[in-house]
């Protein structure tokens, strides 16, 4: 009997110790998942009493779980729409940009390298109106490059993804025809092309299919040493994506940043801005009743915008420009 009591006491003690670390649950976007995992781990090291669990279930799932109140905060590759926000009744959702990602066109063209694309050309290829590699539009973008008289095999993402959202959002901005015929979403009704599942699916199809073109995240392209093209930005320059040109896109868009940070930074102004760039957001409730949780989350946000940003380039994410960080820090005060 005594022994039993002892066990119960021990168990209770262990339980209360485990519970003393504040556990925060979050879920959402897969694209920033590697850096979020790193951040949450480092933040836990610096603050051993706070443990943030992150499940990379996709932006749509993150928004759904936040709406239903099953997570403490969400994460998404696209800002929530007005319709989605109207469904969240218990609190307002605050958008906090965390890092910036770029999306690059990758291709398999044995005879040519360092290709350049203007937005209209890229839209034409994905609409199926530009069918051959030696089309006049591609020749104008790439003077002096030996473009073959071959059919273009178009590859897109088959799974719903923030990557497709940003890519189609860009095409909608540069091509009225794309906007009216296809539009932008995590998945769309693609006029032409093969669908590959995930970055690896698109990359696999492009690598294997001669004369093909696809789009992947910059991180994926750099980690796998894939060749990718440059894109003509709003200022008329062809810019190749890298950590700094993607940050420049955010800096270019910062001047007209709306107060709620729900903004698309594709086709951003600025001479060196890479046009297919996007923020990824944490979705934080404006009203956190649990005081310790509230402090943990605001502490994390503060840490993420300062110390945390230094981790971004190492993982090929672009850090936030200073102007954006300054605006976001003001928004932390809105969490009640």
């Amino acid at each position: 009997m005594k022994r039993q009591m002892l066990w119960i006491a021990l168990f209770a003690a262990a339980w209360s110790m485990a519970a003393s670390a504040e556990t925060i649950n979050a879920a959402g976007a897969t694209f920033p998942a590697p850096i979020y995992q790193k951040w949450f781990e480092e933040f836990h090291k610096a603050h051993p009493d706070i443990q943030i669990n992150y499940q990379a279930i996709g932006s749509g799932g993150g928004i759904r779980q936040l709406t239903e109140g099953t997570v403490d905060f969400g994460a998404s590759d696209m800002p929530m729409t007005d319709e989605q926000l109207s469904k969240v009744t218990k609190f307002k959702v605050l958008h906090f940009p965390t890092v910036i990602g770029g999306i690059v066109p990758t291709y398999n063209l044995p005879s040519a390298s360092s290709l350049k694309f203007s937005g209209a050309t890229l839209a034409g290829i994905y609409l199926g109106t530009i069918k051959k590699w030696n089309d006049a539009a591609l020749k104008t973008d790439n003077p002096g490059v030996n473009l073959p008289n071959e059919d273009i095999t178009v590859v897109h993402r088959s799974d719903g993804s923030g990557t497709s959202f940003v890519f189609t959002d860009y095409l909608s901005k540069v091509s009225p025809e794309w906007k009216s015929k296809v539009g932008s979403n995590t998945s769309v009704n693609w006029p032409v092309g093969l669908g590959g599942k995930g970055n690896e699916g698109v990359a696999g199809l492009v690598k294997q299919t001669p004369n093909s073109i696809g789009y992947v995240e910059l991180i994926y392209a750099t980690q796998n040493k894939m060749e990718y093209g440059s894109i003509k930005n709003a200022a008329g320059n062809f810019v190749k994506a890298d950590v700094s040109t993607v940050t420049d896109a955010a800096a270019g868009a910062a001047k007209e940043m709306p107060a709620d940070f729900r903004v698309s930074i594709t086709n951003a102004p600025g001479k060196t801005a890479y046009p297919i760039s996007s923020f990824t957001w944490l979705l934080i409730p404006s009203n956190i009743t649990d005081a310790t949780k509230k402090k943990s989350i605001t502490d994390f946000l503060q840490w993420m915008m300062t110390t945390g940003q230094a981790d971004a380039p190492g993982l090929s994410y672009s850090p936030l420009p200073k102007q954006v960080v300054a605006k976001e820090q003001k928004q932390i005060a809105l969490i009640k």
Binding site: G58, G61, T153, S158, S184, G195
Partner: protein, 324 residues
């Protein structure tokens, strides 16, 4: 009995409980009944959930959902026909390849092969059946797709290009490749179960046929195989079920195109593949419930195809019994 238990004094009630618990047959009956009922309950619950959550989509599109050919998440316009077509077509290709291959292999392994070879092969087949589908998908992407694009599809276009089934550019991905990978995934099931069914045919059947002067092949083909027919058909059902519901391997090689194409070389889509692809990022009620309704359609499709196959068996069995 229940009323007697309630009115009886407590002591005898306990007595009855003990009596009851000693009655092993009853308990076994109850427990196994519960297990069997759980299958039924899970199925009913599944249909119920699919039915409830597909409400907005059913209300908006009605039966035109089944015939619609557009899948446009931006305009929220959804139709299931390309996916139904792709699912049925790929499963059909898979069965056309895997049934002759699987049944043939099963006949060899059970009737003709030396026992050591048969056991070794059966072991390998069972290993094959346990390989996760994503592995098959990766294998397909890296080996089958290039082979199809460079050799098989150009050959088919060259030899059979006059048929509309083999026209258009050879991407390497498409209905045919998906059907092939499904055939590879389903034929271990057919071999394994058909072989068991063939082995279960009584020895006397074979001996009788041989005694009547039949050759080994005649006895196998005309006596043993018909005897084991139900088991073999059961294995084909399982294969069909797997082919209809297979997700990962198919989506990796089918090309994920929401059109309807006659050519087997064209990229297409299946129901399971689009659900897996789009469910995580789907936003908006109509979009989500349309994906759920696709699940309902897949469920119904499986029922219809299984029912049709059952009818086919009844028809052929009836015919078979009339033979002398």
């Amino acid at each position: 009995m229940a009323t007697a238990a309630v009115t009886a004094p407590p002591q005898s009630r306990a007595r009855k409980l003990i009596d009851f618990s000693r009655d092993g047959d009853r308990i076994a009956h109850l427990v196994t009944f519960l297990f069997a009922a759980s299958v039924f309950l899970v199925t009913v619950f599944l249909v119920y959930e699919l039915w409830i959550h597909s409400g907005p989509s059913r209300a908006k599109f009605g039966f035109s959902f089944l015939t619609g050919r557009t899948w446009d998440p931006v305009a929220e316009q959804f139709g299931a026909l390309p996916f139904i077509y792709g699912t049925v077509l790929t499963s059909l290709i898979a069965l056309l390849i895997s049934v002759p291959l699987g049944v043939g292999a099963a006949i060899f392994l059970s009737e003709l092969a030396p026992p050591q070879l048969s056991n070794a092969c059966t072991f390998l087949v069972e290993l094959l059946a346990a390989v996760p589908s994503v592995i098959f998908g990766l294998l397909a992407i890296f080996t089958l797709v290039p082979l199809m694009r460079q050799y098989v599809e150009p050959f088919l276009k060259h030899a059979l290009g006059f048929l509309p089934l083999f026209q258009g550019p050879a991407f390497g991905v498409g209905y045919l490749t998906a059907g092939l990978i499904l055939a590879i995934m389903t034929f271990p099931f057919i071999i394994s179960i058909s072989r068991e069914a063939l082995l279960a045919v009584p020895r006397e059947q074979r001996e009788a046929a041989l005694a009547l002067g039949a050759t080994k092949w005649e006895s196998t083909w005309q006596v043993v195989v018909p005897f084991a027919r139900l088991g073999i058909i059961g294995s084909i059902f399982l294969a069909l079920a797997r082919a209809l519901g297979e997700t990962m391997a198919v989506t990796m090689v089918i090309g994920n195109d929401t059109g309807i194409h006659t050519s087997l070389l064209s990229p297409g889509y299946t129901i399971a593949a689009i659900i897996a692809n789009e469910f995580t990022e789907a936003t908006g009620d109509i979009y989500l419930s349309s994906l759920v309704e696709l699940g309902l359609v897949l469920f119904a499709l499986t029922m219809v195809l299984n029912g049709a196959a059952q009818l086919l068996i009844i028809a052929t069995t009836g015919k078979g019994s009339k033979q002398p």
